[in-house]
């Protein structure tokens, strides 16, 4: 009997009141991250999927570069780049069905964009004009979540609710390696396993939580090993191998859909840039380490596979690059326009039924704005009545 079979059958009958499970093997991750590209498994991969992943990776890399450039031009307040992690971001987006839900963190705007969200809407949080620039229901993308790991129990609850309603919906929740130390990570995984909720957790282990390396975060053999303690399978995957991430996530999602419960997937990847544009990664890591990871670049890995197998020629690649450039140009142009903001929006969505003190404060701001507007009018009036030739 496997552990998963045991768990359903388990009933506490004294004595003994509780029996430890004897066979956690089916839940344990493999010792080495699963890979597809450059292995025999790649022969089985769908060429169309590989081409799609490639196009999205190139777009994703370009999107990251454009967003980082926008921080330098003061158009974004901050940008946590997923450069180097595009395979995880893109695979997470493409593996889901439309009806499924994605629960991203602040680093996962690319996953949201690859799922179909407009990049400008994805970036309003980081531009600083709107906490969430989109209606989560439209693409079934939960708000980008900043308090670490707190989005994970939401994914569990949503997946659980969908199952109670009889809907075929899976939730995919993204979290970083540092986030796995948070209590919410533990609670979410435990609830998910107890409820057998149709949810998949993808940990992007990019080596760092800002400056703190994984070794200071955990003593576990791998983050995927943590699954065993909750009674769910853990899978370890090469996070720079887009085909492998897609495959492992796909299997986990199929399990969830079949009512077999949650899976924890750890994707081993690397954060090629600083934590955000405001961070200085020279203080905590060597250039050589970053350079070593360049040899394992997600785009290069997939490009090699596609080229060697003759699945994409130079023209095809040029078309992909042009498409990415067009996306970046459009993003640049639209982000170069100032967002139009209405200060009265401060009060618009605090409550369904606002409190009286909020209504008072709203009236106060309205009066301040009116006074400001009258001032402007007076100034304009004064200016237009000044005698000609006056120098100001």
């Amino acid at each position: 009997m496997t552990v998963m079979e045991q768990r359903g059958a388990y009933r506490p009958t004294p004595p003994p009141a509780w029996q430890p499970r004897t066979d956690p093997a089916p839940l344990l991750p493999d010792a080495l991250p699963h890979r597809v590209l450059g292995t025999r498994a790649a022969d089985r991969a769908d060429p169309d999927l590989l081409r799609r992943l490639y196009a999205e990776l190139v777009r994703g890399r370009r999107y990251n570069a454009q967003a980082t450039a926008l921080t330098k031009q003061g158009r974004l307040a901050v940008y946590p780049s997923s450069t180097g992690q595009e395979a995880c971001e893109v695979a997470a987006a493409l593996v889901l069905e439309e009806r499924d839900w994605l629960f991203p963190s602040y680093r996962d705007t690319l996953a949201a964009v690859a799922r179909g969200l407009d990049p400008v809407q994805a970036l309003t949080l980081l531009r600083g004009d709107r906490h969430t620039g989109y209606d989560p229901h439209e693409h079934r993308i939960a708000p980008l979540c900043t308090p670490l790991a707190t989005q994970l129990p939401h994914a569990v609850g949503l997946a659980h609710a969908a199952r109670l309603k009889g809907d075929d919906v899976v939730a995919l929740a993204l979290v970083g390696d540092g986030g796995t130390s948070e209590g919410d990570f533990h609670e979410a995984l435990n609830f998910a396993a107890v409820w057998q909720a149709p949810v998949v957790f993808l940990v992007q282990n990019n080596g760092f939580a800002i400056s703190v390396p994984l070794a200071k975060q955990t003593a576990a053999p791998s983050l995927a090993h943590k699954a065993v303690g909750y009674g769910m399978p853990g899978r370890l995957v090469d996070g720079n191998d887009a085909a492998a991430v897609h495959e492992v996530l796909g299997e986990a999602i199929a399990r969830a859909r079949a009512g077999l419960g949650p899976t924890l997937v750890e994707a081993v990847t690397y954060r090629m840039e600083a934590h955000t544009n405001a961070d200085d990664d020279k203080r905590y890591r060597e250039d050589a380490e970053v350079e070593a990871w360049r040899a394992h670049d997600p785009i290069a890995l997939l490009e090699r596979e596609l080229t060697e197998r003759g699945l994409l020629d130079e023209d095809g690649m040029r078309a992909v690059r042009e498409d990415a450039e067009a996306m970046a140009a459009d993003l640049r142009e639209r982000m170069n326009q100032d967002p139009v903001l209405d200060p009265m929006d401060l009060f618009a969505h605090v409550y369904a039924r606002p409190t009286t003190h909020l209504l008072e404060q709203e009236a106060q701001l309205r009066a301040e704005l009116d006074a400001e507007a009258r001032h402007h009018d007076d100034d304009a009036d004064a200016q237009s009545h000044e005698p000609e030739g006056t120098t100001r």
Binding site: T132, H154, L158, A161, E187, V350, Y351, A352, T356
Partner: protein
Amino acid sequence: MTTVAVKPATMAQALGRALRDAMTDDPTVHVMGEDVGALGGVFRVTDGLAKEFGEDRVTDTPLAEAGILGTAVGMAMYGLRPVVEMQFDAFAYPAFEQLISHVAKMRNRTRGAMPLPLTVRVPYGGGIGGVEHHSDSSEAYYMATPGLHVVTPATVADAYGLLREAIASDDPVVFLEPKRLYWSKDSWNPDEPQAVEPIGRAVVRRPGRSATLITYGPSVPVCLEAADAARAEGWDLEVVDLRSLVPFDDETVAASVRRTGRAVVVHESGGYGGPGGEIAARVTERCFHHLEAPVLRVAGFDIPYPPPMLERHHLPGVDRILDAVARLQWEAQS
């Protein structure tokens, strides 16, 4: 109003009835928490619900408050209306991050696209001889969090009506249940149509002319007792039961204080940084020219909740309230 004598019901029973009726009327209402299933909750508020509605709608969750509230958020995102039970006031603290960063903010963060119509029931306050961590008055934390409504009943009928309102509300509600009133009884008839007032209306529990006692939850019966005792001193005290701390009913409170010219705010929660400071300020801002004396506060001491054998010295009681009333500058009147 009923004229037929009905069997007395406890506040705990009225709360249970409210949950049951809400679940019957609305299939999206789910009850979840620690021991809410077979046991019916440690205060038996959810007694019988699991049997009637099944485990999918009345769920004994794993023991983790952040997880309970966090998963409730996800369920509400998907269109359910979860009613979460926190077992005790002080054990709701692990759920603070979910409450403050998500429950209170989600409507705002998503510009109205993703409201979270969930209710968090929290038994609160002392006076039941509870050992450490079982008697906190945590309302000030919730009051200070924009996006939450904070409601607390003091009578059996209000327990039913306000909980129905809280569950039906599209705003998240922290529903504070005064532990020591769980077993208080009233001739309230659950089978009659209930006159349910919307959240946010205070009520004058006892009319009076000399001064207003502004209070809520567990301190309401104490203030009514104080008002009875005050008659011997020649004071005719009005008692206002706030029922809801957020939204706050300035109108009812200010109207009362304008009539009486004197006010004392009474609550168990600590005075420093407590609800009384906000209430006194609001009263003063609105009623300054009607006031004969500064608004006073009778609150719990600013100490960690004491061991139960000492709690009677900590909790605002009749004598302490009357002492405060005596300090309302009566001599200046003549």
